[in-house]
């Protein structure tokens, strides 16, 4: 929990205290526990749970063994607790941020030294502790099942661990919704209406990932995964780490996202919303792909189940591709950060802003995929994998997956940049989202209703879909009738014999092009075309607006008055202020062709006239705006911040209003 850095000179103990202390957490808890409704709620929930547990135990069939009764009652009790967690925890968190807005406390809070992330962590922690008292209160009730036997301490511990993870997911979901809405009723409705989606996205894959390692072997056979606790204890450390890390990373990653979205809802308009989200991409998806590759290498799918490879890749790489796509669209259509340094040349693709945001996602995706490929290449079991000649090699799958994903992301993000120059961010994002959903769902539905039985039966246009491409990459290469081809000769009529049809299919395999290859080429071509189009629009030499878009600052006039003189006591405890333009001085040097020429004396006089003191204070402003003194401008283009105002395309009021608090 990173608080604002404590002042230098403090003893280490106080530094540690300042680091660990979260005023929001303490404030929320002391206010929450003081309310009577907490006591009523706790008593009500515990009473209900105890009543239901007692009913389950007492109404059990007396002929059943006591241990069976105990196990069944415990299972039902945990299910009830899970239901209560899902119903109660989001209610605690979904109003926690929005009530700061509705009660006019938001401005007070965010003008302190507290960072939005710290506030969000405090709110999340308070909601978890507040709700956690209920879970702790049910522990004695769970212990009742001991009287019947059949439930081990390990099972109780694991059940409570699962409940805690569930609580974390639903609470962070509530926090995210709270950060996105501006009234309590909307927050409550939004949190509970969208909760099924969040649970489906987070818990289903988590369960799949959790039990997946045991299904794949060699940890367990068949249905032994039901006893996974014991199996896990007996496994080797690498398997233990993998089996725990992958699902935990998944769950914690989504909780982190909820926390980040909630924190972004606590940002002032001037706050930096992009960096926390970028950290999330880096911190979740790169390790996730690396773990996936490691898992794939250490536990290759068994020969007798050819669909497992595709399933594994769909989980790991499909999820990563979707996440990168969502991030690409978000960053590509985001607004220019006013604190961004001017970006020249290649730096534009790695820094801030709509252009560079797209580049960031591409770079993270590239790094993640390359990491995965490297891991697959380096692990000792690679030879084992390569000997499986009966299917496409995992390395080949990974390489094609990487190439296609990067091509797809390039096209998607550059389309986002292109659209964001013409439409408001909301429209650009909605358009891209609709396009991705259409691309994904149409072929998926087509395949569901009419799966291809022969080569070349691909529906027209679906070769651009991620679903089709993923299937094309992971399909067994040796099964010609399963390969998805384009430009293959039409299949022989239905009357042909089976041998003739097989021969035709082999011929098609030789003549056609696999879908993922042509799809990769097309997406790469489209992405490159849009990239060049965007590059021209953003090029200050080719486009006069480019300089304003890139916020290239003018050279500061040496005649510009210094910032207001401030005594050291004025600024204590802040370090002495840098001279005006210090931020600009940090900007990267201009390219030689973009460097400003030395100012002529005439120009200097002009600037001096522009900056005459009576314009700064004490003058009566003329009625006609055209008479107002000109703002200092660079020779090559408008002054950056002035340009921001002029360039409604980039900092339009509509885009400003996305971030709320826009009432004049």
């Amino acid at each position: 929990m990173s608080q604002a850095p404590p002042s230098p000179g403090l003893p280490w103990r106080e530094r540690l205290e300042a680091f660990l202390e979260n005023p929001i957490l303490m404030k929320e808890l002391s206010a929450a526990f003081r309310r009577r409704r907490f006591l009523y709620l706790l008593c009500g929930l515990l009473g209900t749970a105890g009543f239901l547990l007692a009913g389950a135990l007492l109404s059990a069939d007396p002929k059943l063994d006591a241990s069976v009764v105990g196990r069944q009652a415990f299972g039902a009790f945990v299910a009830l607790e899970a239901l209560i967690v899902v119903a109660v925890f989001p209610a605690f968190s979904c109003v926690s941020i929005v009530e700061e807005r509705s009660n006019n406390r938001f401005d007070l809070l965010i003008t302190t030294r507290l960072r939005p992330q710290q506030i969000a962590r405090g709110k999340l922690g308070a909601a978890l502790i507040y709700g956690g008292t209920f879970l702790i209160g049910t522990l004695p009730l769970s212990a009742l099942t001991f009287l019947y036997g059949g439930v081990s301490v390990g099972q109780i511990a694991l059940s409570y661990l699962s409940l805690c993870l569930l609580a974390l997911i639903v609470t962070s979901h509530g926090l995210a919704i709270s950060g996105l809405t501006n009234s309590a009723p909307r927050a409550v409705a939004g949190a509970f209406l969208s909760l099924p989606v969040t649970l489906a996205v987070t818990c289903t894959p988590a369960f799949y990932l959790w039990v997946g390692p045991f299904l794949y072997a060699p940890l367990a056979q068949d249905d032994d995964w039901l006893n996974w606790g014991q199996i896990l204890l007996n496994a080797d450390p690498v398997d233990q780490t993998l089996a725990l890390a992958v699902p935990l990373l998944w769950v914690l990653g989504w909780a982190w996202l909820g926390l980040t979205v909630g924190a972004n809802g606590l940002q002032a308009e001037s706050g930096d919303r992009a960096t926390p989200l970028r950290l999330w991409f880096l911190g979740v998806w790169t390790p996730f792909l690396a773990l996936g590759a490691l898992f794939l290498s250490l536990h290759p799918p068994p020969d007798d189940d050819p669909t497992l490879l595709a399933s594994t890749l769909e989980v790991f790489f499909g999820a990563a591709c979707l996440a990168f796509s969502a991030g690409g669209v978000y960053f590509a259509t985001g607004r220019v950060d006013p604190r961004a340094r001017p970006l020249i040349g290649w730096r534009r693709i790695v820094g801030r802003g709509p252009w560079s945001g797209a580049g960031f996602v591409l770079l993270v995706a590239l790094a993640s995929y390359v990491t995965a490929v490297v891991i697959v290449t380096l692990v000792p079991d690679l030879n084992h994998l390569l000997q499986r000649g009966s299917r496409r090699q995992p390395l080949e799958v990974l390489l094609w997956g990487t190439l296609w994903s990067l091509a797809f992301l390039l096209a998607l993000t550059q389309a986002g940049v292109w659209l964001s120059r013409r439409f408001p961010a909301g429209v650009a994002r909605a358009g891209l989202l609709a396009a991705v959903l259409t691309l994904t769902s149409v072929p998926a539905m087509a395949w569901a209703f009419a799966p291809p039985r022969e080569g070349g039966s691909l529906l027209h246009g679906t070769f651009l879909s991620p679903v089709t491409v993923l299937r094309s990459i992971t399909v067994q290469a040796h099964l010609a009738d399963r390969r998805l081809l384009l430009f293959a000769p039409p299949p022989r009529s239905r009357g042909a014999s089976a041998r003739q049809r097989t021969r035709d299919l082999r011929a098609q395999g030789a003549a056609g092009v696999e879908v993922h290859k042509i799809s990769s080429a097309l997406y790469f071509g489209l992405g490159l075309f849009l990239f060049l189009l965007n590059a021209r629009a953003y090029d200050p030499d080719a486009n006069p607006e480019g300089r304003a878009i890139l916020q290239i600052p003018p050279v500061e006039s040496p005649l510009a008055p210094a910032p207001p003189a401030t005594s050291p006591s004025d600024l204590d405890p802040v370090p002495s202020p840098p001279p005006r333009g210090a931020d600009r001085a940090e900007a990267p040097a201009l390219e030689p062709e973009e460097a400003d020429e030395p100012e002529t004396s005439a120009r200097t006089e002009e600037r001096e006239a522009e900056l005459r003191p009576e314009q700064v204070a004490g003058e009566v402003r003329p009625e006609d705006p055209s008479d107002s003194p000109p703002a200092p401008a660079s020779r090559d283009g408008p002054e950056p911040s002035a340009a921001l105002g002029a360039e409604d395309e980039f900092v339009s009021p509509a885009r400003d209003s996305e971030d709320g608090s826009e009432d004049p």
């Binding site: 404590p6 002042s7 401005d107 003008t111 002032a268 600024l571 802040v574 840098p578 105002g645 004049p664």
Partner: protein, 331 residues
């Protein structure tokens, strides 16, 4: 302490603030005045690092409010026009919470809280729940929260809004005390009597434009130099008057019975003085000289046989200035 340059904020095509330029020196009490909807709150919210300007720049304590908001928040205490308290926290807990939020070390918190409670006269209410306080007491509590980290600059947006007369007077006294402590205060209001005798400099805004800014004395002197008819009317001529190079000062001359006619004649004989009889034993003078030229003028009149009872310089108050400068436009 505050420097604003070309500040503009546009909301959906509406220019809430346009091309604002002003400075506030350290130690000043700067009154930011204007009618409702003039752009005061928007400007203040930009300075408080809450919203971004569409264009232009602003520095507080040498720090750019857009590029270094965290540094600005450390030297600034902000009190918004509408704010709420945490009703379940006691007064002391509320202040301790904000002390922790401002990063005040734990061992110094109690002292800081005691200090602001004493300053804002909240000492007797430390165990009262914040939700149970009256409006005036809540105002004090919010001000105490604003002061908890000992900021050099206070930005107060309509702090007296909704307060009863006694609470307003107490607030004014408190602000005076803060000024004596050397704080710089930017206070916005559309109630001019609130700011009279309190502010040292003002900025007058209307429809998002800064019509005038500077030290009160300077502005009043400039306005006082205008011909009476122009200075006290809404005619456009006041702009010409305000730009006059040698602003005249206006005085009220009181004489003993029967000598005001003589005084009038004597004054008319001087080319540098304009005089008009206001009433029985009273004249209005317009005199371009400085303070030190007043005594010779009195002596001149006394030698001429006028019994001078008093020569009082006429001060234009903020209300006069405001009415002269603004045009009552709304947006």
């Amino acid at each position: 302490m505050i420097e604003v340059r070309g500040l503009t904020k546009i909301y959906d095509g509406l220019r809430a603030v346009q091309n604002l330029n002003f400075n506030v020196q350290a130690g000043d009490i700067f009154g930011f005045i204007g009618p409702n909807g003039a752009g005061k709150t928007t400007t203040i919210r930009i300075l408080a690092t809450l919203i971004l300007p569409s264009s232009g720049e602003a520095w507080i304590g040498g720090q750019d409010v857009v590029k270094r908001p965290e540094a600005v928040r450390e030297v600034m205490g902000y009190m918004p026009d509408h704010w709420g308290v945490y009703p379940d926290l006691r007064v002391r807990e509320y202040l301790e919470f904000f002390a922790a939020s401002y990063g005040i070390p734990r061992r110094e918190r109690a002292r800081a809280v005691e200090g602001v409670m004493e300053l804002t006269d909240l000492g007797g209410l430390s165990d009262r729940l914040a939700g149970a306080l009256s409006k005036g007491m809540r105002q004090r509590l919010c001000l105490a929260k604003t002061l908890i980290h000992d900021p050099q600059l206070l930005i107060l947006d309509e702090p007296a809004d909704g307060l009863d007369p006694r609470a307003r007077i107490e607030l004014r006294e408190l602000l005076r005390e803060l000024a004596r402590m050397g704080k710089t205060v930017l206070i916005s209001s559309h109630i001019l009597t609130e700011l009279s005798d309190l502010v040292t400099s003002v900025g007058i805004v209307e429809r998002g434009e800064l019509l005038m800014s500077g030290p009160v004395d300077e502005i009043v002197a400039r306005l006082a130099g205008a011909p009476a008819a122009a200075a006290l009317s809404n005619d456009s001529d006041e702009e010409i008057a305000l730009h006059s190079a040698e602003p005249a000062q206006r005085f009220r001359l009181r004489t003993s019975a029967g000598t005001h006619e003589l005084a009038h004649e004597l004054l008319l004989a001087r080319p540098d003085v304009e005089a008009r009889v206001l009433g029985e034993d009273e004249l209005l003078l317009s005199f371009p000289g400085q303070e030190e030229d007043v005594a010779p003028l009195v002596k001149y009149l006394a030698v001429g046989g006028v019994a001078v009872l008093g020569l009082e310089r006429l001060r234009a108050d903020l209300e006069t200035v405001f009415m002269a400068v603004t045009k009552g436009r709304v947006q």
